[in-house]
């Protein structure tokens, strides 16, 4: 099965679309079907692999990059509309 997404680090809770993915389409990483996309997602954008609670960290490259502003169900597009920068202490 052709891959349409990449998981950069095993710790990540998002995958990166490597081409346009349509709502309902299976997300396939290295030939393995992980879940279905809950909405249309553009190439190079992030998709939640798991349900992420509001305030939870989004992990890419194995590191926290942003925080969920709202609950983000798995399969959803993750970007500036539903996340916020992590406050630095």
């Amino acid at each position: 099965m052709n891959s349409n997404a990449l998981k950069v680090n095993p710790r990540d809770n998002v995958v990166i679309a490597i081409r346009q993915i349509a709502r309902g389409e299976d997300i396939v990483v290295e030939g393995v079907k992980l879940l279905a996309a809950a909405e249309d997602v553009a190439a190079s954008h992030k998709i939640a692999l798991t349900d992420i609670k509001a305030g939870g960290n989004i992990l890419r490259y194995g590191e926290p990059i942003v925080q969920a502003r709202d609950d983000i169900p798995k399969g959803q597009w993750v970007h500036v509309h539903n996340t916020r920068p992590i406050e630095r202490i």
Binding site: R19, I65, V66
Partner: protein, 382 residues
């Protein structure tokens, strides 16, 4: 693993054996240019430095050019000076150890006679270098620069993580890799701090990155957002941290062993961070001055630039750029997007390309004779 290189007196190995002709000051560029037209296969460096600047810029350019004349890929050096400049040709030659090096001063004989003397010297150098042979060298003798430029939305998805795999393979072989572009680390100081192999080194690196952030904000004011921004929100980047992590991905996953000044030669092996700006040519100059024998340069939009005496391997993040700029790009990481390859596959391809290049196979930028020179300068011109 081994490659075949040129063993130097200081124990380093060259992956090339160039005759280098370098100006000590911009006023000497005409003679260097003339010699380059007579001997098209030598490496010439003309530049805009050497005089009319303050001590800090003099120090930076002297350190960088000293690193270049002492570079392991250089087998013999001729420096051309004017005579009355700050950065003298004789000073550059004094910095050369264990290889043929000479200086000529234009004010002593004029351009034509200096060029004629230069021809004789270069002919002698070429004959000397022809007799030198490559010999087996451990891969641990390599210092490889890690660079990205003209990035796009896929740089942090395909090309940079692939280069990170190659960097890990090199470090696994006992080699050193050096990543610069501190401007591109803004927003990840707290993360990179944790990758350093001692708390003191972590503090040093964090301070360096925060210093660059302040420098950008002070210098650009409201325009700082052009530098310190996610960079490509349309491309899916949600924060400056995410953008910078995409740049950092080219460093792989090994601990940071050293943080060095611009153009400084690292003392040890493993992953090194160098204090360079993001500007492509200045960043490559710092790595070359520090002794990087090869630079691997990832690009999304595409760029043809190479650097004098240093092979620069290009890795495209997408196949369009690879095809649009045919003959400029050595490895296509776009194959992850459209040919079913994994990041590990392309990382291995980059590693193999590095070994081939170390053995003498020309990188695209070398074949195209794209050897662009520039060096960091931050103070005023007088």
């Amino acid at each position: 693993m081994e490659f075949k290189g040129y063993k130097r007196a200081d124990g380093r190995y060259g992956v090339r054996n160039h005759v280098l002709v370098v100006s000590s000051v911009s006023c000497a560029n005409g003679v260097v240019d003339a010699l380059g037209r007579i001997f098209p296969d030598i490496v010439t460096v003309q530049h805009a430095y050497g005089c009319g600047y303050g001590p800090d810029d003099w120090g930076t350019s002297f350190k960088m050019l000293s690193g270049l004349v002492n570079h392991p890929n250089v087998g013999a050096v001729l420096a051309i000076g004017l005579g009355c400049e700050l950065l003298k040709a004789e000073h550059l030659i004094d910095a050369v150890e264990g290889k043929p090096a000479e200086a000529l001063v234009i004010q002593q004989a004029g351009s034509a006679a200096t060029t004629k003397k230069g021809i004789d010297i270069i002919e002698r150098f070429i004959k000397l270098l022809e007799r030198q042979q490559r010999e087996p060298a451990p891969l641990s003798g390599l210092l490889v620069g890690l660079k990205c430029g003209g990035s796009d939305a896929f740089s942090g998805v395909t090309a940079n993580p692939s280069l990170g795999v190659a960097a890990d393979l090199l470090v696994g072989e006992g080699a050193a890799v050096v990543m610069g572009e501190v401007t591109e680390m803004i927003g990840t100081d707290h993360i990179l701090k944790g990758r350093c192999d001692s708390p003191a080194l972590g503090e040093k690196l964090q301070k360096l990155i925060l210093g660059h952030e302040k420098y950008v904000k002070d210098a650009l004011g409201e325009l700082a957002g052009l530098v310190i921004a996610p960079g490509n929100i349309d491309g899916g980047l949600s924060s400056i941290t995410e953008k910078s992590l995409g740049c950092n991905a080219k460093s792989g996953s090994t601990p940071i062993r050293e943080v060095v000044d611009y153009s400084a030669r690292p003392a040890g092996k493993g992953l090194i961070i160098m204090d360079t700006p993001g500007y492509d040519i200045d960043a490559m100059a710092g790595m070359a001055g520090g002794g990087a024998q090869i630079i691997v340069f990832t690009t999304g939009r595409g760029t043809p630039v190479g650097f004098p005496a240093v092979p620069v391997i290009k890795v495209s993040s997408n196949s369009n750029t690879f095809h649009n700029m045919k003959g400029d790009i050595d490895v296509n990481a776009g194959s992850i997007l459209d040919a079913g390859k994994t990041v590990r596959d392309v990382g291995r391809e980059i590693f193999e390309c590095i070994v081939r290049t170390a053995n003498g196979n020309p990188a695209c930028a070398e074949a195209n004779r794209s050897a662009v020179f520039n060096c960091l300068k931050q103070g005023p011109t007088f």
